[in-house]
């Protein structure tokens, strides 16, 4: 987010209507001019690349132990040092990107599908169903994510799939609230009445006539909430509720490093930096996208 000096209409920027470019190109150009969003996107793509190609990037196995090289400080062969079991911290950070991104994106996707459907149905059908869904959303949203997350993880038990499910359950109410308002407004529009009049089923109206109108907003917010989901995953695995060791996750690496913080700071600090960079990237991307989608919100 920097001062936007380039935005000058008379220089023929994107503010001048230009019939030679398609709307899609215009969106792309606006995106490329938003430096925050571009930097965020570049970092996010890099992290994704690291996650996908981790076996190629990591110099050592993330799980092989070698206690003779316990707690080597960052230098030479181990640029991020080694941990209590002599495992290479750099390789573990690289592999840790996998769990983080996998959990972050798939839980948001699942939460998006569940939540958007809940919000749309609540707004469209109204009545008791609306009260039920939206009250449940209110109750869930009034809790801190960590408290609710711990509660759900205790009930489900740990493990990768349960972790994704738990974070998806935390994300769903946000999407429900996001989809609810616009659907309420769109329901009253003439074209929706018209669609119903020609005999469209409720499902068809929701999918073909309402969803396309709110999907942009949902997509933008899902980028921001991916940042939240990644941070939550880190929180839960820090508490020992995530994917269990020896599989490296940034959260559980920090947790094991915490016990030896005074003599081996690197075990906790590097995975933490990885979380920070990744969360920041998604926040920047989401923030930028939101500015592009709704210039009025730009602050």
């Amino acid at each position: 987010m920097r001062p936007r000096k380039t935005r000058r209409i008379w220089k023929g920027g994107e503010n001048t209507p230009d019939s030679s470019i398609t709307p899609r190109q215009r969106i792309l150009r606006t995106f490329l001019k938003n430096r925050t969003a571009v930097i965020g996107a570049v970092i996010a793509v890099c992290v994704a690349g690291v996650a996908i190609f981790s076996p190629l990037i990591a110099p050592y196995s993330p799980v092989r132990q070698n206690v003779r090289y316990r707690f080597q400080p960052p230098q030479g062969a181990h640029i991020f040092g080694t941990d209590f079991y002599g495992r290479d911290v750099f390789s573990r950070v690289i592999y840790g990107a996998r769990i983080s991104l996998l959990v972050g994106t798939s839980s948001v996707l699942l939460g998006m599908v569940l939540g958007t459907a809940m919000g749309m149905v609540a707004a469209y059908r109204g009545g008791r169903l609306e009260t039920l869904i939206m009250r449940a959303v209110d109750v869930m949203m009034s809790f801190p994510d960590e408290v609710l997350g711990i509660m759900i993880m205790v009930a489900l038990g740990s493990g990768l799939f349960n972790l994704i499910l738990a974070i998806a359950i935390l994300m769903a109410p946000r999407f429900a609230r996001l989809a609810y308002g616009p659907t309420l407004a769109l329901r009253e529009r003439d074209y929706v009445d018209a669609a119903r009049a020609v005999g469209c089923s409720d499902i068809r109206v929701l999918f073909r006539h309402i969803l396309p109108n709110i999907f942009g907003e949902v997509l933008v917010m899902s980028t921001l909430w991916t940042a939240t989901a990644i941070r939550l995953e880190a929180n839960l695995s820090f508490l020992g509720l995530g994917v269990s060791p020896p599989t490296p996750t940034w959260g559980n690496m920090i947790r094991t490093g915490l016990d030896h913080l005074t003599d081996a700071w690197w075990v906790s600090v590097f995975p933490g930096a990885a979380i920070l960079v990744t969360v920041l990237a998604f926040n920047m991307l989401g923030d930028g996208l939101r500015d592009i989608a709704d210039p009025k919100l730009r602050t």
């Binding site: 987010m1 009034s142 809790f143 801190p144 711990i150 929180n235 602050t299």
Partner: protein
């Protein structure tokens, strides 16, 4: 206002009841048998059954549920399944640590965040604004436990200015404050990031209003315009943001308590979770629910303090 507060608390009872029921169910469906967990894998089935009976886990679920509700109504949170200590006693010991941590965090956030937000709004699109926005975006990307670890490494391990862990001796205020400083700063800095961002946008909205232009046009000095006309009107959205993020901060306090080993509610909850102490866990959840309800109530009541148009009926 008092009547309003009482009614708000009464309205929140059904919500609390729903929360209680959900907590009760969630904790019961959790995998693993607490009696088995205490006695270990090699204990005989008879021993496990006897312990289950002593813990009251052999009773039908609805009976356990009614006992749970009846206990809560009398202020009895049950006894820890593991240590046998009344949970109410544990909570009473832990709660002050969490309260002082959360409220100091909120306070730091407000004291730093609101002026920063106002300042960056006034310097819109100039260097201070750019810096402020970058820092606050970084601040809200920080997992609280990681910021806690970094502050601990710098101030406690490297500079040895503050203790690394514990909550301080109960009777010694100076020791308590020394132990409070780093954890509270952790939460406070994150809160500052949220509040700076939101008060900046609240200020920007207000600064475009006609009455601000009028105030300037009549020749009022800039400070008068900013504080008397603009900030005063931006306070309502700022307060609601403080309310929302205070709840977020409660979640952060759990993580920070683990990092700094503070004997607060979060540490109690995580301990109960690890030991499968159902009774302690469900009661602590209830305390958190109450905490959230009180915070929301305080937020609503403070609207009246800054806006005379707000009436509580």
């Amino acid at each position: 206002m008092f009547a309003y507060a009482v009614r708000r608390i009464l309205i929140s009872i059904p919500i609390l009841l729903i929360v209680l029921t959900i907590v009760f169910i969630l904790v019961r469906v959790a995998p693993g048998d607490p009696a088995r967990a205490i006695l270990g894998d090699y204990a005989s089935q008879e021993a496990v059954d006897a312990l289950r009976k002593r813990m009251g886990l052999d009773k039908p679920l609805w009976e356990q549920y009614l006992e749970f509700l009846w206990g809560l109504a009398r202020g009895d949170l049950g006894r820890s399944l593991i240590s046998g200590v009344p949970v109410a006693k544990q909570v009473a010991y832990a709660l002050p640590y969490t309260l002082e941590l959360t409220f100091t965090g909120i306070l730091i956030g407000v004291i730093l965040g609101v002026p920063l937000g106002v300042y960056t709004a006034l310097k819109r699109n100039r260097l201070p604004d750019y810096l402020g926005r970058t820092l606050s975006l970084a601040g809200l990307s920080f997992p609280s436990f990681y910021l806690g670890i970094l502050l601990m490494l710098l101030f406690a391990v490297k500079l040895r200015l503050f203790p690394t862990m514990g909550g301080g001796t109960p009777g010694d205020p100076v020791d308590r404050l020394r132990h409070l400083f780093l954890p509270a700063l952790t939460l406070g800095l994150i809160m500052t990031a949220y509040i700076t961002r939101m008060s900046r946008s609240a200020m920007l909205n207000v600064l475009n209003e006609d009455y601000v232009r009028t105030a300037r046009a009549k020749g009022l000095h800039e400070a008068g315009v900013v504080f008397r006309h603009a900030l005063k009107n931006a306070l309502i959205p700022i307060i609601s943001v403080v309310g929302v993020y205070s709840v977020v901060l409660i979640g952060g306090s759990i993580m920070v308590e683990i990092v700094f080993s503070r004997p607060g509610l979060g540490k109690l909850m995580v301990g109960a979770m690890m030991q499968r102490d159902y009774i302690a866990l469900q009661s602590i959840m209830v305390i958190y629910a109450g905490f959230v309800i009180v915070l929301n109530l305080l937020t609503d009541l403070s609207y009246g303090l800054v806006d005379p148009r707000v009436r509580y009926r």
